[in-house]
Symmetry: C2
Subunit: 308 residues, 2 copies
């Protein structure tokens, strides 16, 4: 059984979609990553920070899924990071209504002793300096370091972002961000340039249009499962990353072929995430549903073809 160390936000989200709205509910990158990774056998821990206002039931929800939360700092008198957003009718774009950093502003991550030898390090979207600080605390270089980031850091901390990108193995990034980072419109060229910046593997997330995995001259594509209804896209990217990292931690094989499978597992879990608000669907997910949908992925994409 492998060990997975997850760094990222644990937060309150308030979400509005064309189908309804929520008050403050459980959110945050590390939350979605952890829940997705918990579908696999890996032993995982979350490094993060919340305020005193964070409900015990949410902490229990994580530890009940065998996620070690001993390095999830609870700041006395502090308030938990809060994000609020409203999705447009097509669910492909959203407006951020509020971002209250609160305790996240002074977050100083501390890697717990028993995870300094983690096999896989999953760096959720955070300030690149925070991500780098975690890498430096590891006793041995993890077999695989996966990083998720976003355009905000390209705009505001590009040098730090480039530094952390030089230290990692896999980056997950969306198509627009890949283009912004490289000034290349072609995703093939963008992925080539990003590989030159450090990571051996580049995963480009295209939301409802699936995800691409690049490694040297190899490319793999996983579609998003066509769904009758997408309810709330919040957390889909983190769920993808969590499934990806969780699967690789458990299978301990970082060949291109196994990374393909990891992309499918990540896409599969993300397809559940978007069916309900926030973490609701992920919390109630069972193995049978997961396996059924993996078969759907296979039917969706597999074909026989004879050369002419």
């Amino acid at each position: 059984m492998g060990k997975l160390l997850i760094v990222g936000t644990v937060a309150f989200d308030a979400i509005e979609t064309p189908f309804g709205k929520t008050d403050k509910i459980l959110g945050g990158a590390a939350t979605f990553i952890g829940l997705a990774a918990s579908q696999f056998g890996a032993k995982s821990a979350i490094v993060s920070v919340v305020g005193e206002d964070f409900p015990k039931e949410y902490l229990d929800l994580l530890s009940d899924r065998n996620i070690d939360i001993s390095a999830l700092q609870v700041v006395k008198g502090g308030k938990t990071f809060f994000w609020s957003g409203k999705y447009h009718n097509d669910l492909n774009s959203r407006d951020t209504l509020a971002t209250e950093l609160n305790v996240l502003a002074d977050f100083d991550p501390v890697v717990p002793g028993n995870f300094k030898d983690a096999d896989v390090l999953m760096l959720g979207n955070l300030h690149p300096s925070t991500q780098l600080s975690v890498i430096k605390q590891m006793e041995e270089r993890p077999k695989l370091i996966v990083l998720d980031t976003m355009n905000f850091w390209m705009d505001n901390a590009l040098e730090e972002l480039k530094e952390v990108i030089a230290h990692i193995d896999v980056i997950t990034i969306n198509d627009e961000e890949a283009r912004q980072l490289t000034n290349e419109y072609s995703l093939v060229k963008a992925a080539e340039k990003i590989q030159q910046m450090g990571p051996r593997f580049v995963v480009i997330k295209k939301g409802e249009h699936g995800a691409l995995l690049f490694h040297n001259a190899e490319v793999f594509f996983a579609p998003a499962l066509p769904l009758e209804d997408v309810f709330d896209p919040t957390g889909a990217g983190d769920t993808f990353a969590g499934g990806f990292a969780g699967y690789l931690t458990e299978t301990k094989n970082i060949s291109f072929n196994n990374l393909k499978s990891a992309v499918i597992h990540g896409s599969n879990l993300a397809s559940f995430c978007v069916e309900r608000f926030g973490t609701e669907r992920m919390v109630n997910l069972n193995k049978k549903e997961v396996n059924q949908r993996l078969l759907q992925f296979k039917e969706l994409t597999q074909f026989d073809i004879e050369l002419q």
Copy 2:
């Protein structure tokens, strides 16, 4: 060897992309469909109309590829249909600069006697009444009728469009058009509704994001091949349709599994079409390149996965 009857425009296009611009070059839906279908062994004919200004070398180009052009009317003193467009920087959207119907305005298609028993009828984008007139001229109902259309007819001839849709087996349509036709944002729901209108199979084209094939509860997805450079998207949708129809004509098997293969063949040929202006790449395409890229499609999408 099956018989494929193709109805659609044969035209002049003038194209501007971020990479260059052309004068009037060979274009038109039936042209791209015919060139793509000619990659397979099927015997095909084009029903269309051009003016006296249409160069003999373009006619030869078609007949050299074993496309029967005896039903391609040449109107004395008439001018060929002309379309001009300019693509935006992302190549995903374009402005139409000119549409001169010319001889197309009075086009009255006449199906040649030797193709009234065609196995497959491919109706390229045209006025739905014209498409319907061709169906009615067939002596026996073709084994498969494939129809391509666009939003223009939804805006301007919706009732006629619905009538022709009720007579066909496969519709190829892009994602926005599928949404417009059904008032459903979810493509799964849109495809369900379209099947209720007539066609047993619905192909939703998503351009650089691939294509979906729906039939009852079954779904198949073919990605577009990630390319270093897309040069000119003109004709990609028609090339897709031509590859799809040409493959099915030749293999004479309209099972869902074989339609999957047809979608892959169509996507494969479309990936070449966009590499040069207009028909340039399709005209110079050889079997070896086609087969090589089919293998790339396989590598791009195939995976092994074990259920947990």
